[in-house]
Symmetry: C2
Subunit: 165 residues, 2 copies
């Protein structure tokens, strides 16, 4: 089956993973959120081949996650900046980093701490509900699949409560 033939139900993750489903892309993204902007800096930090790096950056640019901005006229030089669409990946990046911190840190702890400047404390990301603003766990989520007539009739429980498929 071709990628495009995936059932509609999976399309949000399928399309997201076309952009992000690659080892280097995830690492490049986390570097961008640390403020890295220039090709040479990515290259030096990641030790990645120039071709691979250029391909990954081009893909992110094609998908509107990054844009190039000129920062020097002579010679003309460009840096990569997150677009608003790219900034929207921050919750995903934090969630992936937190998970990596929790499960793959060495004895000394995570390599980077993230401090919430509003309250002044290091934090881990928490998933909250956009409606009631309370925390969300997988146990209190129901997935409702869109049907052919564009209604959301079918209710399915999350990973815990649903009967075995």
């Amino acid at each position: 089956m071709k990628w495009d033939d995936l059932p509609n139900e999976q399309c949000s993750m399928a399309r997201t993973s076309v952009v992000l489903g690659d080892r280097w892309t995830l690492v490049i993204l986390s570097d961008i959120f640390l403020g890295v902007r220039r090709f040479e800096d990515f290259q030096k930090r990641l030790g990645i081949s120039r071709t691979t790096l250029a391909n990954r950056l081009r893909l992110l640019e094609q998908h509107g996650v990054l844009t190039q901005r000129q920062y020097e006229e002579r010679p003309p030089r460009f840096e990569y900046r997150l677009t608003p669409k790219g900034m929207g990946l921050y919750p995903a990046v934090v969630a992936l980093l937190d998970w990596g911190d929790e499960h793959y840190s060495d004895a000394a702890g995570p390599p980077i701490l993230r401090r919430h400047t509003t309250c002044g404390h290091d934090f881990a990301g928490m998933l909250h509900c956009s409606h009631c603003h309370e925390p969300v766990t997988p146990h209190d989520v129901e997935a409702r699949k869109r049907t052919a007539d564009n209604r959301f009739a079918e209710v399915r429980r999350g990973p815990v409560n649903r009967r075995g498929s």
Copy 2:
């Protein structure tokens, strides 16, 4: 440079992306959180080759994201279940799905809605701070890198405020 030689600073995302940095793996994960558990069901839903599917599931099992559980004795049959470590990926999965919903939905809207059963409303995931429980944006996060003596001295601003590197 080999993957393992990445600077310590990138290790949380680098190690996470070894597990998740693959198109199929992300789609398999989002299916698991919809309650899909059995090899045949993944295979039917994703139309993926049996070999590819088996490889991805094995990787997730090796990394302790999934575990196999016998659900039938004669003949012996097994299904895949999320471990607590795997359940910890829920915030990342929701964030990636939300982003896909926002940017890649067709005109009729997202293929799946997620309802927060506690409040009864469909929701998008919000990133909140584990300390003050308030929402977090990339603009109010400072990254502090661990130094060689295991202190967190250096303060770096996020993607917006940091000077060009």
